[in-house]
């Protein structure tokens, strides 16, 4: 229908413009030896139609593998089998193999130059956030100028067979403070134990909200107040914390059940104490800017069996304080 209507209009027009054209060609693009307007339009129309038919109405999508029909049947039998039927425990923690406690320490350095930190766009509550002309900068790559130390690298134990019971003073310790001031989270990367009370505080004279991604924690924190938060689950890799009122505010938190987690200090140093001795421990390393999967920091370090997934292994003797030395992070290990 569209075709007919279009052609009629077009034909009438041609008839008026060139009333007695002597030649007539069935080839649209060679009418009277020149480019015919009508033929050109027609050809364009055909081209559009053919192209759209070829492309179709679906978005082009990456192809994905389908389910393996044979395995589906086999798996379904496994899945519907009555539970507790003496299935071998797969991922149970291995039986403890050692006694005593030990510690690790080390220091991360950055091989390259961090360049100038990007200034953040602060366009709300400027009377507080840029008070006295202070400027806020992107803190994703903090390198100590003199020692080259790389700050805010997270190291945590993946699995341990034993966890040292908390001492009386550790149990009694008051909450850790996760504070924000001048529209900035004071800890760019914050670690805590699951169940340990965290005082999410606001030291600014204006209100904030603290939104921990993946946790459903998103609370209003009125000016000068705080709210107590007890992390109820492990985060896996560190998860982002933002303030929706001031979108430039960003930090990361990591919660671990066993508390075997450290964040490297301004000079790049870190240490984890009270680790179980006598077993092979695997540690996970993370940095915000890491180019590895999920922020995993992969280093070239055969001695520690460092993998591209950012994991290394150590075995500790009782009461040992193992110094991993200086761990240099090459430029290409970090992305943008």
């Amino acid at each position: 229908m569209i075709t007919t209507a279009f052609r009629r209009r077009s034909s009438t027009h041609t008839a008026v413009a060139v009333p007695s054209t002597p030649c007539r060609s069935s080839v649209p693009w060679s009418r009277c030896g020149g480019w015919s307007r009508r033929g050109g339009v027609r050809l364009g129309f055909v081209a559009v139609l053919v192209t759209s038919c070829a492309i179709g109405c679906n978005r082009s999508r990456v192809s994905t593998p389908g389910a393996d029909a044979e395995s589906v049947g086999r798996l379904r039998t496994t899945l519907v089998a009555a539970s507790g039927g003496g299935q071998a425990a797969g991922e149970q923690a291995a039986a403890p193999t050692g006694t005593g406690w030990a510690a690790i320490k080390g220091r991360f350095t950055f091989a390259g130059s961090p360049g100038d930190a990007k200034a953040l766009v602060v366009d709300k509550d400027t009377e507080v956030c840029t008070k006295g002309g202070i400027k806020l900068f992107d803190r994703s790559l903090l390198v100590d100028a003199s020692s080259k130390g790389l700050a805010n690298v997270v190291v945590f134990a993946r699995k341990t067979s034993r966890v040292k019971p908390l001492s009386a003073e550790q149990t009694a310790e008051s909450s850790q403070v996760f504070d924000q001031k001048n529209c900035e989270f004071l800890s760019p990367v914050f670690a805590a134990r699951v169940g340990q009370p965290v005082d999410v505080h606001n030291s600014d004279p204006i209100g904030h909200n603290t939104n921990i991604a993946g946790s459903s924690f998103n609370q209003l924190i009125p000016a000068g107040q705080g709210t107590l938060y007890k992390p109820d689950a492990e985060t896996g890799m560190p998860t982002m914390v933002t303030c929706n009122i001031h979108p430039w505010m960003k930090a990361y938190v990591v919660f671990r059940k066993d508390g075997y987690v450290a964040v490297s200090a301004a000079d790049g140093s870190f240490s984890i104490a009270d680790l179980p001795a006598g077993e092979t421990l695997e540690f996970q390393v993370w940095h915000e800017r890491s180019s590895g999967p999920n922020g995993a920091l992969g280093l070239d370090n055969a001695a520690l069996k460092w993998t591209p997934k950012g994991r290394f292994q150590v075995r500790l003797e009782p009461d040992e304080v193992k110094d991993l030395g200086t761990l240099e992070v090459p430029v290409n290990a970090l992305g943008t």
Binding site: S11, T14, S60, R61, P65, A81
Partner: protein
């Protein structure tokens, strides 16, 4: 065509070519009544031939409906084809296909309801309508519940992606799942201000079946995310393959997701009644004070005018996932991974949109306009959206004051009514 037939020398030709020639001939009539041309394929004929050929060839046989993997997460986790296949296989074993869904006992889902909602649109032996999801929901929410149906890109806001298991409008705390009644309510009422219509004309069992199917898709999607993320957590000696034991797949992966849905019914927010003797004028004034104050801070996002023109360049969780992934793809150094990332962004994600804070002058409330609904929104915040929770910070009584003030906003007025000063605030701004 009333004319031309007697002039056509090919009138005796049968079928398709005859029609073609007639069409072609008719178009040439306008050139000044020349005698009938020979029936060689002209531009028009070529066009018709092309259309006919393409229509006949079609775009292939329609394949059976299949779930699509969450490709954004798969690309993010850098899963190999083999790993993607394992996820697809486990999911099919656990949840079946769009035509034949199954529900393990651990999910707590009713398979009879799922069968009513799933599959192609058809009537069963007693004349009952089946395939309700594909009749009413799939064009927006997609066959996998990924919010990527064919119409999705044209809607604002985008249809909900059920796979992360995050729902906005519910009577439970922020971290909890909605109750079954919450889903029924959304289906019956629709979501004002969005493209989600009311399905109140469906029968109770039909709405019930659809709510069950939404839960099914959500549990399936969340399990899929958990499986994809589990690859990273594997030990190196697992050789990049997930353990196919009941313990890992059901007890550690499926059950934690399903348990949250089961717990929802008992997790409703306790709401104290609004004080019966409340002085509405005083309450609104108190609510106004809180709205603009530093404690509740509503003004920061909803704006000094209440028009939702405060902090407005933020994203909700669904869009933020894409924004973050986009950044990652832009910074990707590996060319293959970068091109895969771009392809996934083009085919499996919608263009990210910011989420504007609600304009409170319009009297349109997505989660419902009952005072109770507003209480829930303020108490628990809106999961997945920037709206934070006020619970713990603002007392229940104060929340009621804010509710009263917010409800007065579309009609807030001081002074004389007039032609240039209508009662309804929406007309003033």
């Amino acid at each position: 065509m009333p004319w031309g037939r007697e002039h056509n020398p090919f009138v005796a030709q049968a079928g398709f070519m005859k029609t073609l020639c007639q069409l072609r001939f008719s178009s040439f009539r306008f050139r000044g009544g020349r005698s009938a041309p020979a029936c060689v394929p002209s531009g028009a004929a070529w066009l018709l031939l092309a259309v006919a050929a393409l229509s006949a060839a079609g775009c292939g046989r329609t394949p059976a409906a299949a779930y699509r993997l969450n490709m954004v997460e798969a690309a993010k986790q850098r899963l190999t084809t083999e790993q993607q296949r394992q996820v697809a296989t486990v999911l099919e074993a656990m949840f079946g296909t769009p035509d034949e869904p199954i529900a393990l006992a651990e999910t707590g889902l009713d398979e009879a309801k799922l069968r009513l909602a799933s599959g192609p649109v058809r009537s069963d032996i007693v004349g009952r309508k089946n395939g309700l999801y594909r009749e009413h929901c799939v064009h927006c929410h997609g066959i996998s519940g990924d919010g990527l149906g064919p119409t999705a890109a044209f809607l604002n806001p985008y249809p909900r992606d059920y796979r992360p298991g995050v729902f906005k409008f519910k009577s439970t705390e922020r971290a909890d799942k909605p109750t079954h009644a919450d889903l029924l309510r959304i289906l019956r009422q629709g979501i004002p201000g969005t493209s989600m219509p009311s399905f109140a004309l469906l029968s109770e069992p039909q709405i019930d079946a659809l709510a069950e199917y939404v839960k099914y898709l959500s549990i399936r999607g969340e399990t899929e995310l958990a499986l994809m993320r589990a690859f990273f957590e594997l030990d190196d000696d697992a050789k990049g393959k997930l353990p196919e034991t009941r313990e890992f797949l059901v007890d550690e992966t499926l059950t934690p997701v399903a348990e949250k849905w089961k717990a929802a019914a008992a997790a409703r927010i306790p709401v104290p009644d609004m004080p019966a003797d409340i002085d509405l004028t005083a309450s609104i004034a108190k609510g106004r004070e809180l709205f603009y104050g530093d404690k509740a801070n509503c003004v920061k996002c909803h704006g000094v005018t209440g028009l939702g023109d405060g902090q407005a360049n933020d994203y909700d969780d669904w869009n933020k996932t894409i924004v973050e992934w986009k950044k990652e793809v832009a910074g990707e150094k590996d060319a293959t991974a970068a091109s895969l990332g771009r392809a996934v962004l083009a085919g499996d994600a919608l263009k990210p949109r910011t989420i504007p804070p609600r304009n409170l002058r319009q009297g349109i409330y997505r989660g419902g306009r009952r005072p109770l609904d507003l209480y829930y929104r303020i108490h628990a915040g809106i999961n997945g959206a920037p709206m934070p929770a006020a619970k713990g910070t603002i007392s229940p009584e104060d929340i009621w004051h804010i509710v009263n003030y917010v409800r007065s906003l579309p009609y807030e007025f001081d002074g004389e009514l007039g032609a240039d000063r209508p009662m309804v605030a929406r007309d003033r701004f």
